[in-house]
């Protein structure tokens, strides 16, 4: 499995780079900047360019097809019984390829004590991601219904293997792949996104990958919509289906409503109200999501 993940990365990175090198080999002058505000997306809790909970087909960074860009983000989610911290960095290459790394820390606070793990027990996860834009243009192709399409893969490694297997998780590392399509309907100031993710991650991997109820990868749908209010502000909602692999705890789909504000071309602030449902037997995990993304 780990070999497959590595192969996916290598393929996603190599193909466009090789094509670019052939086109422009003698004098490579690489630019930065050039995207319109908000069109790089924000950073998901897993580090991809997209919404807050689900990746979009847009590529992170301010670069156009002639340059490179990057983003870094810090995101906090405060829930009744847990706190999630996510931070990471991502690179955008020629508005074509996106490479990302994100660290997640999930603090169980008092729940840790109740479960016998100790107060403030924290699950940690590293997420390496690669995304390749394969077709279309979400912004300029306003005369067709065809969306911008990207495919991607994430490799995830959880720090708490022993606890993961104690709760019924099969693996402390895992991979997932996804295809995502984004369309901006400028005519009606709307952004629509749909993602299909092939995954077996429990709570995105914070409780491991695969479980005693089901170990196989399954296809999950994720949807987001945004309403463009100004060149700097988009508000919207997201829905993310999730697997349900662990016998001890039901896992729910995730929902949020969000607002993102591009303070300028470099900084974007996102606030959301999230409903993450039941997590490790503690129900109704609704709370506030705040994220700051800096980029060039």
């Amino acid at each position: 499995m780990s070999r497959l993940g590595v192969a996916c990365f290598a393929l996603a990175m190599w193909t466009p780079l090789a094509a670019y090198a052939q086109e422009d080999s003698p004098a490579i002058d690489v630019e930065t900047g050039g995207k319109l505000k908000l069109t790089r997306g924000v950073s998901t809790v897993e580090g991809q360019g997209g919404g807050g909970l689900t990746p979009w087909a847009l590529i992170t960074g301010n670069e156009t097809d002639r340059g490179v860009g990057g983003t870094a983000h810090v995101t906090g989610v405060e829930l009744p019984d847990y706190s999630l911290l996510s931070y990471g960095a991502a690179l955008g290459l020629f508005d074509r390829v996106e490479l990302s790394y994100t660290r997640q820390e999930f603090d169980t606070r008092d729940v840790g004590a109740a479960l016998g793990l100790g107060r403030g027990f924290t699950f940690g996860q590293d997420i390496w991601g690669a995304k390749l834009r394969v077709a279309g243009d979400a912004i300029y192709d306003q005369d067709t219904w065809l969306p911008q399409v990207a495919i991607g893969a994430n490799w995830k490694k959880n720090d708490q293997g022993a606890v993961v297997s104690a709760v019924g998780g099969r693996d402390d590392e895992g991979w997932e792949t996804y295809a995502t399509a984004t369309k901006i309907l400028l005519d009606s100031s709307l952004l629509l996104n749909g993602t299909l993710r092939w995954t077996n991650a429990n709570q995105t991997g914070l409780l491991g990958y695969g479980g005693n109820l089901n170990d196989d990868h399954e296809l999950m749908g994720e949807f987001s919509a945004g309403w463009l209010l100004s060149p700097d502000i988009v508000v919207g909602a997201e829905y993310r289906m999730k697997p349900d692999n662990l016998a001890i705890a039901r896992e729910d789909d995730w929902v949020d409503i969000y607002a993102a504000w591009a303070i300028n071309h470099h900084l974007t602030l996102t606030g959301a109200y999230v409903d993450l449902g039941s997590i490790a037997t503690f129900d109704d995990q609704r709370g506030v999501y705040l994220s700051l993304q800096a980029g060039f």
Partner: protein, 167 residues
């Protein structure tokens, strides 16, 4: 008389095959340009339906102020000055106003050149296209055009990137 005949004949020969209108005389203050076929198809987009968007742009006066503001700013914006330094701004203002009016269904004919040939030699990049979009957004906002109406015009202009951007 013979002269007039030659003129008419050559006009028919050069212009008629494309079913366009003959080249009008050069308007005052504008430079001459090489002959081309005049047609609304050169505008690069069909008009929107209905009259509401034209009204939302404050009609001819609104479009005129937006284009004047746009053409003034492209000469000041450091990302664009170089590209526009040799431009005929009198002609650019006139043709842009015609084009916006035509697309917004304000009943104007577009008499300028097509988007591909007029931009071909400028080596425009995506970043420069976006810079122009930002300058246009600012000009529309100064005119008080609501954002959703701005986007309906931009939706018509966005596909022209395929013709305008060559680098």
């Amino acid at each position: 008389m013979r002269m007039a005949l030659v003129c008419t004949l050559s006009a028919i020969i050069f212009v008629a095959p494309a079913f366009g209108q003959p080249m009008p005389p050069v308007p005052p203050g504008e430079e001459t340009v090489d002959a081309y076929t005049i047609s609304d198809a050169n505008a690069g987009a069909t008009p929107v339906d209905g009259q509401d968007l034209f009204a939302a742009f404050h009609g001819h006066e609104g479009i005129s102020r937006i284009v004047d503001g746009l053409v003034e700013q492209v000469q000041k914006d450091s990302r664009l000055t170089e590209i526009f330094k040799a431009s005929d701004f009198v002609r650019l203002r006139r043709t842009l106003k015609e084009q916006f009016c035509h697309i917004l269904n304000g009943g104007c004919s577009y008499t300028g050149r097509d988007m591909k040939s007029v931009h071909a030699d400028h080596g425009i990049t995506t970043a420069e296209f976006n810079a122009l979009v930002e300058v246009l957004q600012a000009a529309m906002t100064r005119e008080g055009i609501v954002f959703s109406a701005q986007n309906r015009l931009l939706a018509k202009l966005a596909p022209m990137k395929r013709d305008a951007v060559t680098r």
